[in-house]
């Protein structure tokens, strides 16, 4: 049996504040196989982002296990988790989160620099990606000189620069207008298809979710597969 890329085994997450316990996720079991695109939908506050944070090694479950290529994230030291995020995960956030101090191409380069690649090696790669997403003329622009859609394209390039095994996208079109959203959706799915990426997408947009091979609904702290 082929080991899935990502597997949740009875994952629960709760937050404790004083005497109050707030349960967010309860005994979740699900997996994402390599090359698959999986969408998690649900209402705001249902715990979608918490699920993504746990999948990306940014947060730890209260109980249960998260396995990435069969390796438990739970026992990893901070250093290993940092390396895991850098090498295996590409993050795309709702509000792109680019650094205004740097140009578009420099923003794209950051994960590769963290990985240890030289600027000489990584800059051509970053430029190629930016050209691919239609930003050949905007490479040297700072994020504050780019439109919302352009910024999100830069963020997608940044997520792809290290050839990650898993792309995690948290409401990638959530902060964009309808026209820009459409463009970003097409670009994201085209790139995933072209490069054979695995995508774990969180969205409350059911139309966007339907573009994924699998759709899960997060409701009442549990996951239910819709397709």
């Amino acid at each position: 049996m082929i080991e899935p890329l990502l597997r949740f085994d009875s994952v629960s997450k709760e937050y404790v504040s004083g005497d109050t316990r707030l349960s967010i996720l309860e005994m979740l079991d699900f997996s994402v196989s390599s090359g698959e695109s999986v969408a998690i939908t649900g209402k705001s506050g249902s715990g979608k982002s918490t699920l993504l944070n746990i999948a990306g090694g940014l947060d730890a479950p209260t109980s249960g296990e998260v396995l990435f290529l069969g390796k438990r994230l739970k026992g990893m030291h901070d250093r290993e988790l940092s390396e895991f995020r850098n090498r295996h995960i590409g993050f795309i956030f709702q509000s792109h989160i680019l650094l205004d101090d740097f140009s578009a191409v420099e923003n794209v380069c950051i994960p590769a620099l963290i990985k240890g690649d030289s600027r000489r090696k990584v800059v051509p790669r970053a430029k190629a990606l930016l050209e691919r997403v239609g930003l050949a003329e905007r490479m040297q622009h700072r994020p504050n000189k780019l439109s919302g859609g352009e910024r999100q394209r830069v963020a997608i390039c940044r997520a792809l620069i290290n050839d990650p095994d898993l792309l995690i996208a948290d409401e990638p079109t959530g902060s964009l207008d309808e026209e820009s959203s459409g463009g970003i959706e097409r670009l994201l799915f085209d790139l995933v298809k072209e490069q054979g990426r695995t995508l774990l997408l969180v969205t409350h947009d059911t139309q966007l979710a339907k573009k994924c091979a699998k759709v899960h609904l997060l409701h009442n702290r549990s996951l239910k597969e819709l397709s």
Binding site: F84, I97, D101, I110, L113, I114, D170
Partner: protein, 404 residues
């Protein structure tokens, strides 16, 4: 993971990539404030060491020598043959007395010396109105008064003064002695100018008993001043003398101890100032981290380790600190090298109280102390910055992502 990201981040912090004018000015201001701390420390150090060295040199060259050998008669031969570091050896006689003019009196130390006593090194510390013992005074003693004593007595060159020698024993007959003022000297140090009188040695030997008041005053090269006991013992043994010796600091224990204590207290004050400066440096680190919270959270999310980020911030803050220190030390040295002129100018301005300072001021740069101050500053700053950068560890990537 390599250090490439660390170097890139370090350069980004230091080069203030994309930062506002306010942030740029703030970092430059931080370096400037560190420089402002270092300037007075270096100046104080130069002033303190210069003053101590200057006063010490005055006492050694003009009053006591590096050491004194208590042999009744003049030591035969050239002492330079015994130890090549010996610069001069002068047979002198010394005692205390009161000098009178028709208007005033003054208590003084009388030192009987030959004209040859005023060699080049001593002349470098003195200015004379007339050549020492250059004029004929007949049977009367020839004296050179300090300018302060002369002003107090209201006498000038060529006039007469009377001395009353303070007897060392009841067997001595005390009577006034007349002397002619053959010259006036100024040493640039009020204490000496107001208390020291040179008399020609032949006359002085008539009033002070040789067995109690005569000795050989020895000067050595500066670099040999830390082994005076060895040189003095060598002189005594090789000259086959049955004599004792004493070094300059034994005569001036109070002055010497005051110097040592003042120096220790000032260095302690310096360290306290450096601790305050170190806390300020830590605040620079805190401000930089505070301004970069989102960036740090993003770097962590993208896989950067806390240590990588911390080292880059640490190095950037330390570069600012070292730059400020270097600028401060350079300005301090530059201004310090002009302290001699400043003191001279202040002396001429007649400000009250300055008379107790040395106005003929040698610039002494103690590199070991400057290195000590810089090293202490670096250690304290490193420690405080290291502690303040603990904040980076507490910045969670989740702070960036709390959206759901």
């Amino acid at each position: 993971m390599s250090t490439r990201f660390g170097r890139w981040l370090f350069a980004s912090i230091l080069l203030l990539r994309g930062k506002s004018t306010y942030e740029r000015v703030r970092l430059i201001r931080s370096a400037f404030l560190i420089a402002l701390v270092m300037i007075p420390l270096v100046l104080a150090l130069i002033f303190m060491d210069g003053m101590m060295r200057g006063i010490t040199d005055k006492y050694i060259l003009l009053q006591d020598g590096h050491f004194q050998v208590y042999a009744r008669e003049e030591i035969d031969g050239d002492l330079g043959d015994i130890d090549p570091t010996i610069v001069s050896a002068d047979y002198v006689v010394s005692g205390y007395g009161i000098v009178y003019s028709k208007d005033a009196t003054s208590e003084v130390r009388i030192k009987g010396v030959d004209a040859s006593y005023f060699n080049d090194r001593r002349r470098g510390q003195l200015t004379f109105t007339d050549e020492p013992f250059g004029s004929e005074t007949g049977r009367l003693a020839s004296v050179i008064l300090g300018k302060v004593v002369a002003e107090r007595l209201g006498v000038e060159v060529g006039e007469r003064v009377a001395f009353m020698v303070v007897p060392d024993s009841s067997a001595m007959v005390v009577r006034p002695v007349l002397a002619v003022v053959s010259s006036l000297f100024s040493s640039g140090y009020h204490e000496l100018d107001s208390s020291l009188v040179y008399m020609d040695r032949t006359s002085a030997l008539r009033y002070f008993p040789k067995d109690k008041n005569a000795y050989t005053e020895v000067l050595v090269q500066s670099e040999a001043s830390d082994r005076l006991d060895g040189i003095a013992s060598n002189v005594i043994s090789q000259s086959h003398l049955d004599a004792e010796y004493a070094t300059w600091d034994e005569f001036n224990t109070t002055v010497y101890q005051n110097f040592i204590t003042s120096r220790q207290v000032i260095l302690l004050v310096f360290i306290m100032i450096l601790v305050v400066a170190g806390v300020y440096v830590a605040s620079i680190a805190q401000e930089l981290v505070q301004d970069s919270m989102q960036s740090i959270a993003l770097y962590k999310t993208l896989g950067a380790r806390t240590g990588q980020i911390g080292r880059a911030f640490f190095a950037a803050v330390m570069v600012v600190t070292v730059s400020g220190m270097a600028i401060g030390v350079a300005i301090g040295l530059l201004v310090g090298s002009q302290l001699g002129f400043v003191m001279e100018w202040l002396g001429e301005s007649g400000i009250a109280g300055l008379q107790y300072y040395l106005l003929d001021f040698p610039v002494v740069v103690s590199w070991s102390d400057i290195i000590f101050i810089c090293f202490t500053m670096l250690v304290i700053s490193s420690f405080t910055v290291f502690l303040s950068l603990g904040r980076i560890r507490r910045i969670s990537p989740l702070e960036l992502l709390q959206q759901d």
